[in-house]
Symmetry: D2
Subunit: 388 residues, 4 copies
């Protein structure tokens, strides 16, 4: 059994992964959104579920909100509610993909009135951040076009920069914009921020409080994601991760489920580049639990990140560096794989118990009766989803 | 200007492309379904819109129905309604992806009761075919799993074959099953019929009345689709096309919009393999008009197929064969590209007029006032979409 | 530490993975073939190196030959030489991609004289099989075209079938053809056997002694390879594996190096479908060691297959079936991942020692002095590669 | 027939596309390099062949050289030789992928001595540029690694920047560095400059005389290349194109052969962004003619670029802008496609004749007897290829 050194234990103890409120609501594909009993009907119920993940893992100290899905009248009250449950309100996510006016764009729209409306939406999000104490405004730019010739891609870049500058100007001292990129979907010809390079040049033009958000499911097939992690850390512009996993497109599966070794490589580069437990680099989940149980799905996810972080921390950096310097390809690979193949689960279970957490958070949650409780209590009303 | 020979004119005159009723309803992505004024609210209104496409192009003599989206009490009446508008009812499409019971499968489900229900749904579809006079039952198998280990892929193949045999046994003399394959979506780890090979072995085990349906958007990146067209024609198992186009995944864009040259190559292989105007090979559209106008979107689509067919028909087969035999790579390519680059549009416009059709069907439809009429008349009710 | 049950130990003891002679020669990309000291200069030296892999692992009892690269005057003598070193001669690989006549095809060539020459080459390979005692003739069909229109894909399929029939007719009782498919390369528009479906229909038309060969690096991006393993086992047509791994195209990296979890999933389906230690399903490597040491590269590779097989054998099939039946997505996934994450290496080391093998074959080989010996002895001559 | 306006004629008259000397030598895949009669044996013979392309098309006024493949003793004499044939010497391409020392890197190598050697190679290239009058030093960075853990990707980025700075410092006033990126190959895990973002941040850190080179075959599957063209033009950092086309990987096929519509979209964005006939943006070919005739392959290629440029110039920008502003998706697409589908070939043939060029350059070259001449004259010696 691997033993976790005091250093590694201390590092793991600092790890926190933010949960998305929407992971607790229903989600699906264009073909069907399946519903499940006990699904939250409002932001408070989502936060209550998220707090369970933190309770059983100690790994999820904050919850991201999505506006307008999580709009409430009193954000200060929502913040107190969350804090009473042991979690903070985290990143505020804006939405430019559902309002009727945004059919052909929002922050990039040629129509000034619509673009001002989209900018105003983001300013409202910052108002909410002031109330919730959130640091980050995450902008996923769903905008784009479906057909070649449909729109002027170049003019949209310039309007995007102008819109972002207006939003940036509203940030207060500690607040940040993180700009997410995505290869495609919901647009099928061009997306206005399709790759890390575009996100980087857009945020670099804004200033120090603007960073790139890397969603692990938002790349072209075959992309070496850990290379991008390395590069953004080198440039000082990796603001946050949206973790999930994929086989094909933006599948939004549980992080580490599709390619565990890729997650290991990403976390290795995070550590290599000084991004672990670095306040500048936020760890978040962005997932869908279309067919599996949602709270356990989130528990499984944060554990996957923790377990893979532990493996990456076990890597023998001196041995690796020595083999790399000698161009000993197989030797270096052996050191690298040895960390990946080490089964850290028993040691993590012990360590969890030493900190007053259940050895097996999945089993402990299942035994807690919480799921049965919400299924019996949350009757009536409209289950939360990706709609209004 | 290219001249269309009498032979080519005669071939083009026989061409018919079936329209999907659902292309006239609303569609979208998991993020948003945009609505548009004038959208049909029931099967009759969808058929009325489809008839407009045929009226202005002479290319769309039939309409495919989707069950249960197009369920009506009296199919004979629906048939008469369609025929009065000059179109026939075509392929019946089953649906195994929206019933609550089908969350984990339908024709492949481990639970016998659910599997029997799914089989019964297909038998009902064949009952409808009897009433509508439809020949083909198209089965797109949306079933699969999201996580490795979630299900037993092998047992599902065997159950699928058993289910298909039960459905096949119900077919009457002229009726057929066409089994569609799809690379992924809505499942993200495995799909039960992911490729042409699986569709082929499943239908080959059924008998002569079972064929493969090739949807041009359902392949892995980089797949040479015309090779599959060639192979299925060679095997006598190409039952139908679902035409559309894509840049990334199953984008369901207008056919020919993303890669016109690919459409040319496909139609060349159709002609080469004897699949054009062959009753065994049905031409259908399967598209979404998420952001563009729907009726004009369908008109544009059938015109794209017609124009590319005309180009492929212009190809000088003798010159091509001679260059191929001489392994004259550039010579053969030149003959091939010459057909693709020939602008057939003026000649087609003339030919349309000679047949009593508008030279420019897009302009003629726009000038007809039909769109304004349905926008003013179709007020109230629920617009048709992919739901119940 | 995991304990390997007597059943698992017995299963592992039967495992054998065939090595490719060409893995011990030089290889590279179109840009450069790097040379290394000690590289074999003839088939005997390749076999001697392969025997080392078997000596230190007990896992590699046979060596595949490539004709003409491994042509010798006396195959009976070569066979004795190999057997004296403890290994057998295995699969014979034909070559239709290097002779000047094959620039535009071989078994598919329109020119009858060239096609007869290619058929004769395969008949000669079967003669060699008679002499070496080999069972399998592996045909990787490198043939295809680079430009649309360059050639008649359909006619080539028919000629291919005819050629294969002529070769098949020459097989003796126990001999087999295994037909490999490949997505692309060295042809860049079409390949004559690009996918499992084409290989399947070609070999199914031949008879029971013709099977499909699945190379793990020969698929489109995102392809679910274990699904194909499942399907071919179900159809009784999985004849052999060519193991390697890839990030992008046919990278021919060490098996398990790019995506260990994919290798696990493949081996799980092999076991599920009865393909493990089944004489009908040959396990082979087909790799390039462009920059890493070749003999250790092969040792690492067979160990990767063994370790992942052990993990897959540890899977709790009863627990998995129970969770699958209950549609407990997370429960089934947990059972699946538990096997993958179990570190079998210490138990395998113990077990190896119990069988008289070194606990750490990589270290044992490095300590053996063999590499130093061949580097000093193999001076002069022409190092073996992919050329004549 | 389309008529080319005086403006378009004038624009086309200015177009020049640089040819790569290596396109006239032999090339192939890792499996085989086919040879052809008449292949050049030295830089002069390559330049003579390139001059033929210019003679028959008027489109190819310069030839790029590759060092060391095109090393000569007297570059001034080579320059005169070229100029006597009517062409200039163009871009100098460095080579860091074939020297034995560069097995594990060159400008990124951890070993200082090797890195200094690689830098010195580039300084020598600039010396050559001084002699040839070349403006651009093109650096394609083939460096990378094959296995995760093999090397320290981050340290390599920093060393790369340092190396580039040393090279940049040597540039004289008008000279430039253009840094090419490539998704993969010859490295199969990571490449040191894999995407436009990395190339951009590396050259942006150097200064105004460093630009990005975009090779159309060097992207992940599905990448929207014209978006990158737009972005780099917007950033003022598009230094040059390496044109070619691909179906799968870096296939290096004739530009426009695989996806003509993509080439149209790229040229549309070039025009939109002011990159046509802009001295800052060099047009070059980088292709392989593995199986087709080389000189006609290059003629076909420059004609493809010219024809697609003419189509893009025909686009009705006012109509497009109007439809775009109205969010008339189908209307905008129609304007866009109308330009693409217009057959400009007859008008270009006329225009060529009016300028004293053959109407059909392919036929004119074939009739010229040049190919027969070089086949009879170039006997003996070693045909040029990608080797020394």
């Amino acid at each position: 059994m691997s033993t976790l050194s005091p250093d590694i234990q201390s590092t793991l103890a600092q790890q926190g992964i933010e949960l998305p409120s929407w992971a607790f609501g229903n989600s699906g594909t264009r073909f069907r959104v399946w519903t499940t009993e006990g699904t939250p009907r409002d932001p408070r119920e989502k936060i209550a579920d998220a707090a369970q993940v933190n309770k059983f893992t100690g790994l999820a100290p904050s919850v991201a909100l999505h506006i307008p899905w999580d709009k409430v009248d009193d954000y200060a009250a929502l913040r107190s509610y969350a804090e009473d449950l042991g979690v903070k309100l985290g990143t505020i996510n804006s939405n430019t993909f559902q309002d009727e006016d945004y059919k052909f764009g929002a922050l990039t729209h040629e129509n000034e009135a619509i673009r001002r409306k989209a900018i105003a939406h983001h300013l409202e999000c910052i108002d909410i951040m002031d109330a919730t104490g959130s640091r980050d405004l995450k902008i996923w730019l769903a905008e784009g076009s479906n057909y070649p010739g449909q729109t002027d891609m170049r003019a949209r870049q310039d309007r995007l920069q102008d819109s972002l500058q207006q939003i940036y100007a509203r940030l207060t001292g500690e607040q940040r914009i993180v700009l997410e990129y995505k290869f495609f979907e919901p647009s099928f010809y061009h997306t206005d921020v399709p790759d890390w390079g575009t996100s980087y040049v857009q945020v670099a033009a804004l200033g120090e409080q603007a960073m790139v958000c890397l969603d692990t499911g938002h790349h072209a097939p075959g992309t070496n994601i850990e290379f991008i992690v390395m590069q953004l850390l080198r440039l000082g512009k990796l603001g946050s991760f949206d973790f999930n996993s994929r086989f094909y497109a933006d599948d939004d599966l549980i992080v580490g489920a599709a390619d565990p070794f890729q997650l290991f490589r990403i976390l290795y580069e995070v550590i290599r580049g000084g991004g672990l437990n670095n306040p500048d680099v936020a760890f978040m989940l962005d997932q869908c639990h279309n067919i599996e149980a949602k709270i356990p799905g989130q528990i499984r996810s944060v554990l996957n990140v923790q377990e893979m972080t532990a493996r990456a921390l076990l890597l023998d950096h001196d041995a690796l560096a020595a083999a790399q310097s000698a161009n000993d390809v197989l030797g270096a690979q052996a050191v690298f794989m040895d960390a990946f193949y080490t089964d850290v689960r028993p040691a993590l279970a012990e360590w969890r118990e030493s900190r007053g957490l259940p050895a097996d958070p999945m089993a402990a949650f299942a035994a807690s009766g919480y799921q049965e409780k919400i299924e019996s209590e949350r009757v009536g009303g409209t289950q939360a989803g990706w709609g209004a």
